[in-house]
Symmetry: C2
Subunit: 395 residues, 2 copies
């Protein structure tokens, strides 16, 4: 028997496992309070409601077969209704496409929208799942910085004026991962205008928009232009185990994605899509459920932000936690968060260094902290541990 | 608002919807007996057993989170155990990878194993889901004919001797879709030897191997060489709605697929994977369930084959139905099955013309018939309708 295997594709050489995934393996130690994760809180997931929906879907004549590639019809119908309300126009069924989590939408869209060498604009810091997909597609990537009002659309405007012609601009419009910020309404309008003027697609990646704490998220970027492809997900509002994401896009984009999905995995699970349908159509229940999640996350976010500000004062600037799952913090005193991590782990706290989210490099003084899975006193203790690690690093 | 959208990727021009999918839309008419489908029988799917497993998975502390990219640990463990028994060696967990249906394994493997322009050998007629994936990967495709003993491995040997160097050879080893035939043991051994001698990968695509009627399928191709990547699926033995497929492959291949799966869809559904685990570990129940499916499909297959032979005599040569879901028939009298289809639909019967499965062209006198979803008297009626369409076409 041969011990040397045939070779693998040359393009794999450029791929590497996410630094975050590798870090998460280190933080499985129960003595470490992890702010490094990116998971919604399993305790807040509606286990009993999901179980009831599963039982209903599996009783009687529920579908056990392959389902249609664009998704279970009734799920597409309720998503069309919800998105119509959000976008202020009637979204037809043909423009709604269900994917295996919204990550699948990103990866199929990269194939549908990008030729090799195409220019893709991402935000900096960036959602690493998007970076991974665009890199694998062979795109040329340019990063536009975030500020407190989200993507610096003025910087994009200058890039376009200088002659750059992106095929696609990716934005996490609400409660950015990792940046924590939300794109301001005026910038949303301008982004839509630029997309039409210069003929590019915007992918509005919005898994967190319903997780607002004080006031609803602004009208979607997709409400300003039909050049915007909008992605949503049940993972953060119901549970990741359903693997239900969705896309709202022009018919021609949906049909192209449909062809690729047939090759990628034929179709999604009728079972988990029926469960999602049941929960999303149960409006009163859903409203109550979302209110509970918002309340809980809001309390945790406030505890984390207050502790960081009280502990570090002017040595750290961190985002207001207005929604979503993350707080982004920048040290102003020259702290290197990657260098500090070993000390932090020794003190019993984990975070993700900002450099893990850099499109190129940078963010050596930054970190992402996830507040979803720890109670306020635990978050306060995590910040106390961080302060000890910071003090030790400064010696 | 602009009415012209930005352009889509140029590579989409080469993609088209499967002719079979388009045909299936025509056969939704309840007056038509469809032999055209490729679906397992929903009536034989273990609805109550799945519901019990779902309830167990959703009770207590079952996982609602993202799961690991290579799959739910206990599912990989039971698959490793089952495959160890099948392959006659201890398969470690690291060599088992769960995918979103086995179609996803095919599509991720195409990315992992193929550089653009690589040579891929398929069987002729071919599984169209594989053809679609290899074409999308930009592979050069060469087709090797099937005969009653499966792939003509002698023809592959000649191709290799002539200097062709495939990166990958794809085979549906048991109860071929669409060809109905099973690769003979001596050919399995030679295919493994050739893979090692010439340094190519074999993808042994085996969704039907457990659906044998009279005697168990031969030892897998993967039992002859470690150059063989073996694919399996729960879709045909439990239910497609789970979207659970799996791959047994060397560790380096699994790790490369893992990197790509993170970009493709992060991970599968812990819920459907827990359900699959529950059913696959319940050995006594599973043995009884598979016996019922085999018995039912075997009776239907026999009814179809007997009716075809009694009706058409020497004008048709059709495969013995020893397992799986399909019978392949060749007209020997010059009948053009694509031309005859309109007449057949008018008589109330549908099938898939052989040309839909041709890697290049050919099989104008052939058809694929699926026997899984019709009772024996319905299958006999279908063949009577086919005979009327055939008689009309011959006029």
């Amino acid at each position: 028997m041969s011990s040397t295997f045939p070779s693998l594709s040359a393009k794999l050489a450029g791929l590497q496992s996410s630094a975050i995934r590798d870090l998460l393996k280190l933080t499985a130690d129960p003595r470490i309070v992890s702010l490094a994760g990116g998971l919604p809180d399993a305790e807040l997931m509606p286990r009993e409601r999901i179980a009831a929906a599963a039982a209903a879907a599996l009783a009687g004549s529920g579908c056990l077969q392959y389902t249609e590639s664009p998704g279970w019809g009734p799920l597409r119908a309720v998503l069309a209704e919800r998105e119509s309300a959000r976008l202020g126009r009637r979204v037809p069924l043909s423009e709604v496409f269900v994917t295996h989590g919204s990550q699948q939408a990103l990866s199929l869209l990269a194939e549908v929208l990008l030729d090799p060498g195409a220019l893709v604009v991402v935000e900096d810091p960036a959602y690493v799942g998007a970076l991974q997909v665009f890199r694998a597609a062979g795109a040329r990537i340019v990063a536009i910085p975030l500020d407190a009002e989200g993507m610096r659309v003025d910087a994009l405007r200058e890039l376009l004026a200088a002659g750059e012609r992106p095929a696609l601009v990716h934005t996490v419009s609400n409660f950015h991962n990792p940046g924590g910020v939300t794109l301001a309404p005026a910038r949303r309008a301008e982004l839509g205008q630029l997309a039409e003027r210069y003929g590019f697609w915007v992918v509005e990646d919005d898994p967190y928009g319903e997780l607002w704490f004080d006031r609803p998220s602004p009208a979607p970027v997709a409400s300003y232009s039909r050049h915007v492809i909008r992605l949503g997900s049940a993972s953060k509002i119901i549970a990741p185990t359903l693997r239900v994401g969705w896309m709202v896009a022009p018919d021609q984009v949906c049909r192209a994605v449909e062809l690729l999905k047939q090759g990628a995995d034929l179709c999604g699970s009728a079972l988990t899509q029926q469960i999602a349908t049941d929960l999303l159509t149960d409006e009163d229940w859903l409203a109550g459920h979302l209110a509970r999640v918002r309340d809980s996350y809001g309390t945790r976010a406030e505890a984390l932000v207050n502790a960081v500000r009280a502990t570090f004062g002017e040595r750290v600037v961190c985002t207001d936690a207005a929604g979503g799952m993350f707080v982004w913090a920048d040290f102003t005193d020259g702290t290197d968060t990657k260098a500090m991590l070993a000390g932090a782990l020794a003190e019993g706290v984990a975070y993700v260094p900002g450099s893990a989210f850099a499109a190129e490099d940078g963010y050596q003084g930054s970190m992402r902290m996830c507040f979803t899975t720890s109670a306020p006193p635990v978050l306060a203790e995590a910040v106390a541990r961080l302060a000890r690690a910071h003090a030790a690093a400064a010696v």
